[in-house]
């Protein structure tokens, strides 16, 4: 394993090994037919929402810009096919809240007419900044689920020397097989995307990490990587949360991202394989990010599948294409069972970060008994990949002692769910921590607000005092001047 003989053991402490359930890993990627309507939320990424640049009723072409990035961290949105914009209105977002957000609704016309694109002759000859800029213009975000604008992460190399680009092909969530299929079926494409990213970042070494339960993906990517020195495939143990950036860096390099810093601060950047594929599509073919591969799976799905889906397609269309439900699903999920979120219904669109659509039966969700008292068995401590004490943090969150929980490292929690998964007392630990993190943010904001109010009040007080003092000083001065004048006049009278 070349470089890796230096590192004693590939892995990270803690973690869990849930039932893998990769039931769809032998099913080739199939395109989903274009649906009747596409619902494109303006917020499909971390950061500010995109701003529409098209008018209601306008005809748009495939790949045309529909919404430009908002201020600060953001990403643009493009048309997955040609058609007409029939509405820009609030629509249920694929978000745990289930609240509506502004959404562009596109009615495809069936022609799938592309807009003009200017392609570079050799994208590999582009300057690093140009690659990053084009990735940003193509609306590419982290496709492993976090949906962080990819161009920002490609630019992190500027000013910070990056030695290693890690490509995350871990796919450690149970059920999900979209990355596995992508690596098996399109290894050359993925590799070209990886090399474009490597060029943008300026890393001399690329490590492609793939979990040991995907031997065919490992073989395919290894074969495609042969011509490229500096690009290595690393087989990593099948352990959740291997796909977490911090754990992956620790597993591969034995380095830990210092608290409050980024991987880039120690010279490492992690990108997902699907993101690499999207980068290749954008730079080689001029296709912005308008579709993605989604695993449709779970015990309640009649025919599980890996589908290439136009962004904005409703989840219900995917389920219908997969033959509907073969039994009543207990839970519908967007994403994997460990970190994905529950859907209340299927009328929500697939967005850039949606890697899986799962319909789980009762036995797959596991025993849903109510929370019992903690018996301090410490399985959560063993499972925590961060070295936290979830039982102690939860005890403090329950009693409202958020500062106590923070003191135990609440802020370092990555919400991976390993502790909740393993708890024999069914305590929803991760849920407690997410609540507490929100609560801490709220308190911090409140404190900042009250401090600001106090500062303003103090400033006003000071200003009033200063004005009063100035007024007084002026009055005194005027008085003195008057006196002096009078005196001078009297003197003049005398002398005269």
């Amino acid at each position: 394993m070349g470089v890796f003989s230096v590192f004693k053991r590939i892995g990270f402490p803690g973690g869990v090994h849930p039932d893998e359930q990769k039931i769809s890993n032998n099913l080739p990627i199939r395109p989903l037919p274009m649906p009747r309507r596409l619902y494109l939320p303006l917020q499909q990424h971390i950061g500010s929402p995109a701003e529409p640049v098209i008018a209601l009723g306008a005809r748009v072409l495939r790949g045309q810009l529909l919404a430009r990035p908002g201020s600060g961290l953001s990403a643009p949105i493009h048309a997955p096919t040609s058609g007409r914009i029939i509405a820009i209105e609030p629509f249920t977002a694929p978000h745990p809240s289930g609240l509506p957000i502004d959404t562009i609704i596109l009615e495809p016309d069936g022609h799938d007419e592309p807009c003009d694109v200017v392609l570079p002759i050799d994208p590999m000859a582009l300057e690093p900044e140009v690659i990053a800029a084009k990735v940003g213009e193509a609306g590419i975000v982290g496709m492993g689920g976090a949906a962080f604008p990819a161009a920002v992460k490609l630019n992190l190399g500027a000013g910070r020397p990056i030695h290693t680009l890690i490509i995350n092909g871990g796919e450690c969530e149970p059920y999900l097989t979209c990355d596995d299929r992508l690596m098996r079926e399109r290894p050359e494409t993925v590799l070209e995307g990886i090399r474009l990213m490597q060029r943008a970042i300026g890393a001399w070494r690329v490590l492609i990490a793939i979990e040991a339960n995907k031997p065919q993906a490992i073989a395919a990517i290894e074969a495609a990587a042969i011509p490229f020195t500096g690009v290595q495939v690393v087989k990593v143990p099948t352990r959740y949360p291997m796909g977490s950036e911090k754990q992956m860096i620790q597993a591969l390099l034995g380095l830990e991202v210092p608290a409050g810093k980024l991987g880039a601060d120690i010279g490492v950047i992690v990108h997902n394989v699907a993101t690499a594929h999207a980068v290749q599509q954008a730079l080689r073919h001029g296709r912005p990010l308008t579709s993605r591969i989604v695993t449709v799976s779970g015990g309640a799905i009649a025919k599980p599948a890996n589908l290439e889906v136009p962004l904005g397609t409703l989840a219900s269309e995917l389920v219908a294409f997969c033959g509907g439900f073969k039994r009543e699903p207990t839970r519908l999920l967007l994403g994997g069972p460990m970190m994905g979120h529950a859907l209340h219904h299927l009328d929500v669109p697939i967005v850039k970060g949606s890697n899986g659509l799962l319909a789980l039966s009762a036995e797959e969700v596991g025993h849903e008994s109510s929370e019992r008292p903690c018996i301090r068995c410490s399985r959560c401590v063993e499972a925590c990949p961060l070295g936290l004490l979830p039982l102690e943090m939860a005890a403090r969150v329950r009693s409202g002692d958020m500062d106590g929980a923070a003191d135990y490292g609440l802020g370092d929690c990555i919400s991976c769910g390993s502790c909740s998964y393993t708890c024999p007392a069914d305590i929803p630990l991760t849920h407690y921590f997410n609540y507490a993190k929100g609560e801490l943010v709220r308190r911090r904001q409140e404190k900042a607000k009250s401090e600001e109010t106090r500062a303003l009040a103090q400033a006003r007080q000071a200003r009033m005092e200063r004005l009063a003092a100035e007024k007084k000083a002026k009055a005194a001065q005027r008085k003195a001047e008057r006196e002096a004048k009078r005196k001078a006049e009297r003197e003049g009278e005398k002398s005269a």
């Binding site: 003989s5 230096v6 849930p18 039932d19 030695h163 149970p174 070494r205 911090k246 620790q250 034995g254 380095l255 830990e256 991202v257 210092p258 608290a259 810093k261 601060d265 010279g267 999920l333 069972p337 460990m338 970190m339 994905g340 979120h341 529950a342 789980l360 797959e364 596991g366 109510s370 929370e371 019992r372 008292p373 903690c374 018996i375 301090r376 068995c377 399985r379 401590v381 063993e382 990949p385 961060l386 070295g387 936290l388 004490l389 102690e392 135990y408 490292g409 370092d412 769910g417 909740s420 998964y421 393993t422 708890c423 024999p424 007392a425 069914d426 929803p428 991760t430 849920h431 997410n434």
Partner: protein, 368 residues
């Protein structure tokens, strides 16, 4: 109802399952103990369990909490079982009854029920009984296997259990090996003489006098290894308990073999193995931190050795466990694990200088 929050899948583990696994692991040693000490031992086990369950149900009812689901989690039964195994095999019925009630009501429910108690309820009850009823708690009958000539039948056994216990047949009761050694050393004898007629194999196979569950070392070991293999307990506490007792035993025995009992006698006599695998590992009163567990176990082992060797009682497992239980919050407070990306003290890792900077530089360059 559980909130619909991730994760949406769960390991096949439950509190009930944990308790049942421990009971299962105790089964071989318990069955052997019942065989060795006959019907009175079985009656004692049943009485202790019945009163413990009664105490649990009563407390839950008084507290207005659901009785059924808590009662069947197996925790009260496990407490009762561990208590019974720590009692003299032919103790009278009221020892088991008071012990079972005390363990659950005072040792567990008064603190707030499962998971809330500071002290191991079984050991708390054992110590309370030992202090209150020193005579009944130190009468050790020699093993009289079921169906053997001298063993009491089921009817005679009722008379023993509901009569005066082992005291009514005082002639056959005697001291345990550790008690005997303590007395003899106290009389100024040397170990060689004190151990006359007390072969170590008796302790190993469980044919010596002692508490009900101290019996068979191999069977306790099998149960303990089963629990470790099933991931119910970790290896740290049992190993630390054993090492904590045996290392000083080995050292002092090497220095002065005529006055200090050797490590094998310590290992196979008394409640060391039972404590190491089944009592010290009770999660509620033991630390949650990895390093804390080692310290906790080593402390128990060392205290057992100290009490056995220099204390007023021949055996100190219960005291040792309770003392370390009380230190658990402190241990957990000071021995927190290091958090990812931080120093032990909590400061973010600094890769800009020292050893870390050199390591980062090596990785940056790809050096071996």
């Amino acid at each position: 109802m559980m909130p619909i929050a991730s994760p949406h899948t769960h390991a096949p583990a439950s509190v009930r399952r944990v308790m049942l696994e421990v009971l299962l692991a105790l089964l071989p040693a318990t069955a052997f103990a019942v065989y060795q000490f006959g019907w009175p031992a079985l009656y004692l086990l049943i009485i202790t369990s019945a009163f413990a369950l009664f105490g649990e149900a009563l407390s839950l009812r008084l507290a207005g909490r659901p009785v059924g689901s808590s009662l069947n989690d197996g925790s009260a039964l496990l407490t009762a079982w561990l208590l019974a195994l720590s009692l003299p095999p032919w103790a009278p019925w009221w020892i088991g009854a008071i012990g079972g009630l005390f363990a659950i009501v005072v040792g567990k429910q008064v603190f707030g029920g499962i998971g809330q108690n500071i002290f191991n309820p079984a050991m708390l009850a054992r110590v309370a009984l030992l202090i209150s009823f020193p005579l009944e708690m130190t009468l050790w009958t020699p093993p009289q296997p079921l169906f053997s000539a001298t063993a009491p039948g089921p009817i005679d056994a009722l008379a023993i259990t509901f009569g005066g216990g082992a005291a009514m047949i005082d002639a056959i009761s005697g001291a345990s090996l550790l008690g005997h050694v303590k007395t003899e050393l106290g009389r100024g004898l040397e170990l060689g003489a004190a151990l006359q007629g007390q072969p170590i194999t008796d302790s190993l196979y469980g044919t010596a006098r002692g508490s009900l569950g101290e019996g068979s070392a191999p069977l306790l070991l099998i149960g303990g290894i089963y629990l470790i293999a099933r991931g119910i307990i970790g290896w740290a506490i049992p190993l630390a308990v054993i090492a904590g007792a045996l290392l000083p035993a080995l050292l002092l025995n090497l220095i002065d073999p005529e006055h200090y009992l050797g490590p094998l006698h310590h290992l196979f006599s008394g409640a060391l193995l039972l404590s190491a695998f089944f009592i010290a590992t009770d999660p509620v009163g033991s630390p949650a931190t990895p390093r804390g567990r080692i310290l906790f176990g080593a402390g128990i082992g060392l205290l057992i050795y100290i009490i056995r060797t220099w204390g007023g009682f021949p055996e100190g497992a219960a005291f040792a466990v309770l003392l370390m239980n009380s230190a658990t919050p402190l241990i957990d407070h000071y021995l927190r694990p290091r958090i990812y990306g931080r120093e032990r003290g909590g400061e973010p890792l600094d890769y800009s200088q020292g050893r870390r900077a050199a390591r980062l530089e090596r990785i940056r360059r790809g050096d071996k």
